[in-house]
């Protein structure tokens, strides 16, 4: 029962965030796909990318599942996550060590 009530609160919070996103999209005219953003010409980089796809310069991957041989993306994601986590852990450890030494100096 408690889980149900909390889940309802979470769904409401998520709905508020999505609603705010929709409002933002509506205000900027790009929410439905027929808004201001799409009535304008697409940016140059998008047009260039589309041309590259058409000419075959950029290969679009087939959607037939995992590309186990192509782990470059996965490794890069893991490295970014590991680096950021390491920085946070180090900062936290240093702050903790400082607090301890200060406390030890006081006593």
């Amino acid at each position: 029962m408690k889980f149900g009530r909390q889940l309802a609160a979470v769904v409401l919070a998520v709905a508020v965030i999505v609603g705010l996103g929709m409002l933002w999209a509506h205000a900027s005219g790009g929410g439905t796909g027929a808004g201001r953003a799409l009535r304008q010409a697409p940016p140059g980089e998008v047009v260039q990318r589309l041309r590259q796809i058409k000419t075959g310069a950029i290969r679009i991957r087939p959607d037939d599942g995992l590309h186990l041989a192509d782990t470059g993306d996965l490794i890069r994601t893991c490295m970014i996550e590991a680096a950021l986590a390491a920085v946070v852990v180090m900062v936290s450890a240093v702050r903790r060590w400082h607090r301890r030494t200060r406390r030890a100096a006081r006593t």
Binding site: D63, G65, G72, V88
Partner: protein
């Protein structure tokens, strides 16, 4: 958004040793806390792995990326629900908390917003999952840009969110490493 109330009970991962006379007996409530700690740990690990895979589009391909993203949304709802008590408690006492707790709260709020918008925008620009369900939405450059931006922001916030609780993670992982299933009763 880990419940701080669970933190002091990490030692309960070893509650199975209660058969020893030196250790406290395992009560029903302690067993519940033990089960909850395990659930939190594995659910968080699942979220981290699922997000890492979903972000690596070149590895998964678009179909797995989209279905993984939808699944991630469902797990995120459960994760938030399990830690809703923490959200209410910390939000209510935000001004009285120290700087670290306030920073964690802020990171969690940003992460909730960016991950929610990332998943929502991902659904709105879906090229495989929604058409498979017979739903087609008009293409939108706004939502595509939103998806890219929030995905990058989420990639930055997820490791920070996890690392801010590194002592809890290390504590529970250590208990798992020393835990013996045969001694759990």
């Amino acid at each position: 958004m880990r419940g701080t109330a669970v933190l002091p009970h990490c030692w309960l991962m070893n509650a199975g040793r209660a058969t020893s006379l030196a250790d406290p007996p395992v009560t029903a409530s302690r067993r519940r806390i033990l089960a909850r700690t395990r659930l939190d740990f594995w659910l968080d690990a699942l979220l981290l792995v699922a997000f890492t895979l979903a972000y690596s589009l070149g590895f998964t391909g678009i179909a797995i990326h989209e279905w993984l993203g939808i699944g991630l949304g469902a797990i995120l709802l459960v994760h938030l629900t399990l830690h809703w008590d923490w959200v209410i408690r910390i939000t209510g006492k935000l001004l009285r908390r120290d700087g670290r707790e306030r920073f964690i709260w802020l990171v969690n709020l940003l992460l909730l917003m960016s991950m929610t918008l990332c998943i929502a925008s991902g659904i709105l620009i879906s090229e495989v999952a929604l058409p498979q369900l017979g739903i087609s939405l008009p293409a939108s450059f706004f939502w595509r840009q939103m998806h890219d931006t929030t995905a990058t922001l989420t990639l930055i916030l997820v490791p920070i969110h996890a690392a801010l609780r590194w002592r809890w993670i290390v504590g529970v992982a250590r208990r798992f490493a020393t835990w013996r299933p045969g001694r759990s009763r």
